[in-house]
Amino acid sequence: MDLSKYAALFLAESREHLNACNGSLLEWERAPTSLEPVDRLFRAIHTIKGMAATMGYAGVAQLAHAAENLLDAIRHNRVSADPAIFQLLFRVVDTLGGAVEAADGTEQAADADLIAELNAAALASQGTRTRAEANPESDDSQALPTSPPIPESKLRRATDAPRSRPVQVVISRGAAMRGARAALVLRRAEAFGAVSGVQPPLAQLERDEFDGRFFFRLQSERPEQEIEATLMAVGEVQSVQFEEPALGGDAGGPRRQIRVDLRRLDALMKQVGELVVAKNRLAALSTEAGDAALIELSGRISRLVSSMQAEVLASRMTPVGEVFERFPRLARDLSRELGKQIRFDMEGEEIELDRSILDEIGDPLLHLIRNAADHGIEPPDQRVAAGKSSEGRILLSAARERNTVALRVTDDGRGIDRARILAQAHREGVAADEVDTLTDDLLVRVLARPGFSTAGTISGVSGRGVGVDVAMTRVRALGGTLEVRTELGRGSTFLIRVPLTLAIVRALLAEAGGERYAVPLAYVAETVEFDRRAVTSVRGRETLVVRDQVIPTVHLQDLVSTRKASRSARQPTVILEVGQRRTALVVDALLGQQDIVVEPFDAPRGLPPFIGGATILADGKPALILDAAALL
């Protein structure tokens, strides 16, 4: 590869980093116990090392590497920073500056003397480390007086999950409902620790689309024999092995990975999407034609496309931990800025989401975490006065729930004062005067009003409402929902629920007023028949009683046409479910299920909010996608 065209970029960027290095060094020298400059310095040197190595500038890379070793020793309290070290590091930065300017691809000898000095300085640490290792408990206490530990590395250590081990399970041949058996195994495994990376995915297991063999990763330090015995006891389990799954012919070998440009995956995804539409159309046409050979071929193509779609989707799945990574630092900065004590914990970092959703979810989470730190967690004195520990806690967690991923930001702070919000909602005309209780649903709608803020003083961090507004907009754009649970004095939880993947969703097709609509299955609880006799009126609203549950009804035709729907005695009805809320959507006819490709959609002005997108159906005609959350 011709690297010359990157030389200018390398130079410009290295200069920038070296400038920053000088700044960090100065700052550090003024306050030798402060920790951030060391970190910044380490990162800058590390970046230069990586770039130089890529460019083939071995001399620069070697010097940077030696400097990095020394900085790492300092970061880990193996060496303490003294004037000689500062002097040495200033010289390194100067020398690196010269080397960077001179680097032109010809072999440049590294400054051997300087590297030797760096190694010697770092070596002083080796002795310390050996002593520390001999007596591990005294490690921290010995090092503390000279240079306190860096909170971030502490944090990382605290969230370091136990080892995640591969588990391969085979369900016995002849076992009934092998998928459900697999679910039992997973459930039992969860008692040992977090389960992730289930292959094939649970939805596929549920449909029995596997040969009895499945795989997952288990975060647990328990002995293998114990795990094996427990999983075997589930029954109908043929074997439990702690091995990576065999990929193709590469039986039992380690997983091999390559990096792929995300745009390629996007293009692949789009094409598979179109293939799905074509496949559906082919299936419809071949059924129409009634040709047995054609139907068989179409069925085969259909299965192939389905498994291809599953593979493409799987290749896009990324652990949410990638987005979570930056939040511990954010929380730490916030707690300093706000003068509060905040403990920040994370759970479920291994839960996977489609890359495109993951990219969008960072901002909403950021707003919610800021809100929690700024408005949720009280200052230490207030907490103590309220009988709580002075340290507040924010928990960011991810969990797989059916076909969605639930992301929760929970704080144990003051909670939201409903009376105050309600008063303000009345003043601003958001809530009708007769509304006298603020349910969680109404609360989140009020909070998400653009510009709605109850913060007595708007701090630099956030004004409650603005964050919720932004979060709500982004989450809804992803086809997700935002919910809130709050208890005065006890804390709040904001829950973001997003689909596992965008692009292709399984949907229920319904007809109303002569038009067809697609309802994403993730939000369909069940379908029932609308029965006149089961209709009651609750506070003037038509409701349907389904197995003792009272569910408000919505007639789709009333929403989409000016003509009032005729109320036939019996009509198909879709029970929509988002979180705890349900609505009975009455339609004219149900037309079965289909995989639909969600087309990017620029909503025209005046489009009702319950239309979430558009799609092309198997017969080549368009249909509108209903946004379940907006119908509730």
């Binding site: 009934a176 409902m177 679910a183 039992l184 459930r187 549920e206 589930v234 029954g235 197995r547 003792d548």
Partner: protein, 120 residues
């Protein structure tokens, strides 16, 4: 002392059959329920060692009943009784806290194996 069982199914036929299988194996059927609601109530009052639970029942289905029972008694040992084609529901029941399942038509030996596993 014999271990106690609560049998939940809306069909008398199924309740009778399951009760027979279990009592012949030495269990004591202490109660029967014909709806999810009844199952929850009877679990509360009887605290049986084992519950067999049909999935489709009037007045709260079996899955909701499992959820309801496990909410207050996570240690409850519930065996789902399902029919072919209900795999997704069985998975849901498992996630709600059911400990095992059997598939209709029942073979006594399979039912007892599952019961043994649940009580182990």
């Amino acid at each position: 002392m014999n271990q106690t069982v609560l049998v939940c199914d809306d069909a008398i036929f199924m309740r009778t059959m399951i009760s027979d299988i279990l009592s012949q194996a030495g269990f004591e059927v202490v109660g029967e329920a014909e709806s999810g609601l009844q199952a929850v109530e009877k679990y509360r009052s009887l605290k049986p060692d084992l519950v067999t639970m049909d999935i489709v029942m009037p007045d709260m289905g079996g899955i909701e009943a499992v959820r309801e029972i496990c909410k207050n008694h996570p240690e409850a040992k519930i065996l789902m009784c399902s029919a072919m084609g209900q795999q997704a529901l069985v998975v849901e029941a498992i996630q709600a806290g059911a400990k095992d399942f059997v598939v209709k038509p029942f073979q006594p030996s399979r039912v007892l194996e599952a019961v043994q596993r649940v009580l182990a």
